[in-house]
């Protein structure tokens, strides 16, 4: 099973939260916000493949 995907998303989340904490401590609030946005976009890119795979398999199984 592809558990790597889960760990990858969770790792990105932890990394982003630590980095944004550091940036906030350094007084760069806007860059922390941008970092959060970039993290969300990266995770969405990862998710997109998985969801499209899910949709394709549902369509093939149920004959939609």
């Amino acid at each position: 099973m592809d558990v790597e995907m889960i760990f990858r998303i969770a790792g990105i989340g932890l990394l982003i939260s630590v980095l944004s904490m550091v940036l906030k401590q350094a007084g760069k609030e806007e860059q922390a916000q941008m970092l959060t946005l970039a993290g969300v976009v990266v995770v969405l890119m990862l998710i997109l493949q998985l969801v499209s795979q899910l949709f394709a398999s549902v369509r093939s199984v149920f004959g939609l």
Partner: protein, 128 residues
């Protein structure tokens, strides 16, 4: 043991989501979405076996294969609709989830209309 893998995946995902929710709550929903997709992809093989047996059974009963296909399509639409609606509800968009469910119901009704028409035609034939 597929069930051990699936339960383990769910538990690990829930644990990671609890950790991430404290600092980045916007990343917990993608995590749950990925876990849901992985679980479905994992169970796909068994589902195919069950559906194959079902179609075998309907063949033996002499049923029109169109009807089984209709039932399967309805199940697929309902599954996808509930998947999307639950994800929206997880993100706090309850109203959007309701609209997805409404669209699902309409699509299923449109799919079932020809059967309803067939039943009505049969009743008309039976009536003197």
């Amino acid at each position: 043991m597929a069930i051990v893998q699936i339960v383990g995946l769910g538990l690990v995902t829930a644990f990671l989501a609890v950790i991430i929710r404290q600092t980045k709550p916007e990343l917990t929903v993608p995590l749950a979405l990925a876990a849901g997709a992985l679980i479905f992809l994992q169970i796909l093989g068994e589902l195919g076996t069950a559906l194959g047996f079902l179609s075998q059974l309907s063949n033996r009963a002499g049923l029109d294969p169109i009807y089984l296909g209709l039932v399967l399509r309805t199940t697929g639409i309902a599954y996808l609709g509930s998947f999307g609606a639950q994800t929206c509800r997880d993100m706090g968009e309850g109203a959007l989830a309701e609209k997805i469910e409404f669209a699902t119901k309409v699509l299923i009704m449109v799919l079932a209309l020809p059967i309803l028409g067939g039943i009505l035609g049969l009743v008309e034939q039976l009536l003197p």
